[in-house]
């Protein structure tokens, strides 16, 4: 039996956004706009997901002169599996008001 996904509503939203384009590398600001999460919520979630091996990150190419390269994110296969479980659970049960994030 698999354990239920114990993730906050914000993390579920982030997982869903990342899982919508599982092969694509995504920027932080793009994810923020898509999920409606502020940077103060987005970055801690991204950090925890990375720490737990659910998200991979890399540096992109510089987008213009004088512009530093940006960080890119994508779910790992583990992260994708978690996102799929999370979306299944969300569809079958109403979300609790606030649950504790994965180890966060």
């Amino acid at each position: 039996m698999t354990r239920p996904v114990n993730a906050s509503r914000q993390t579920r939203r982030l997982l869903a956004a990342l899982a919508a384009k599982p092969r694509a590398w995504r920027h932080g600001y793009e994810l923020s706009k898509e999920t409606g999460l502020t940077s103060g919520t987005l970055y801690p979630s991204l950090m925890r997901l990375c720490d737990q091996g659910l998200l991979e990150s890399k540096w992109g190419e510089s987008e213009g002169t004088g512009r530093p390269p940006r960080h890119l994110y994508r779910l790992t296969s583990q992260g994708l599996a978690l996102a799929q479980r999370s979306s299944t659970e969300s569809a079958s049960a109403p979300l609790p008001g606030k649950t504790r994030e994965l180890k966060a």
């Binding site: 103060g40 801690p44 950090m47 530093p68 180890k103």
Partner: protein, 217 residues
């Protein structure tokens, strides 16, 4: 009215501060925040983005800060727990001096209860079981172990600390259900004990939560 330029420069300063505040193992994230700010645009959105970055950085900084790494906190905790351990051991010795006079601790009874009529405690001393004394001694031993580990800067101290404090609170709550215990001491004594025990348990919880947060980094 703020000009976009000033908002932008404040945002840049905030993100720089966030980058400096992040713990060293998050250096990549600091660079990522700086780079992302360039794409957020200008004005209030950059400012809000920068504030979020600062909030993240301060949160991470707190999580990376181990309480037991601070010498003053370490010594204060060691002294506090040492005092708690000694206080409990005195209670154990007091009860033993009454219940087991053959141990030769009788003189202690008068000394511990100096200036007060210890005879009023006798009904309570009578009902105090050896099992309770064992539990008190265990709590005291765990506090002393926590003190030793704290002084050795071992983060495992937090486990013994919270365990001992929780057991101490549980024993106190159990004793409150004993009318002879309640009537043996004044309300102020009970309130003071509760404050000490619950306060110590709270400190233990803070140390334990901090240790748990640090160990996930």
């Amino acid at each position: 009215m703020k000009s976009p330029l000033s908002c932008c420069s404040i945002a840049r300063a905030l993100v720089d501060l966030a980058a400096r505040s992040l713990p060293t193992h998050r250096a990549d994230w600091a660079a990522a925040m700086r780079a992302e700010l360039d794409c957020v645009g200008e004005g209030s959105s950059a400012f809000v983005w920068a504030l979020g970055c600062l909030r993240t950085a301060l949160g991470e900084r707190f999580l990376a800060w181990s309480l037991l790494d601070v010498r003053a906190i370490r010594w204060a905790l060691a002294l506090w727990l040492g005092y708690q351990a000694e206080d409990i051991l005195c209670d154990v010795a007091l009860v033993l001096s009454y219940k087991a006079p053959q141990l030769g601790l009788t003189a202690l009874l008068r000394r511990c209860a100096q200036g007060e009529d210890y005879q009023r405690l006798i009904p309570f001393l009578d009902v105090t079981t050896y099992w309770t004394l064992g539990a008190w001694t265990l709590v005291s031993g765990m506090y002393l172990l926590a003190v030793a580990l704290i002084l050795r800067r071992s983060s495992r101290a937090a486990n013994f600390f919270i365990l001992a404090a929780a057991l101490n609170v549980a024993l106190w709550v159990r004793e409150l259900g004993e009318p002879l215990y309640v009537s043996a001491f004044s309300l102020n004594d009970h309130l003071w004990d509760g404050l000490l025990y619950v306060g110590t348990a709270l400190l233990g919880w803070i140390c334990w939560a901090n240790r748990r947060a640090c160990s996930t980094l």
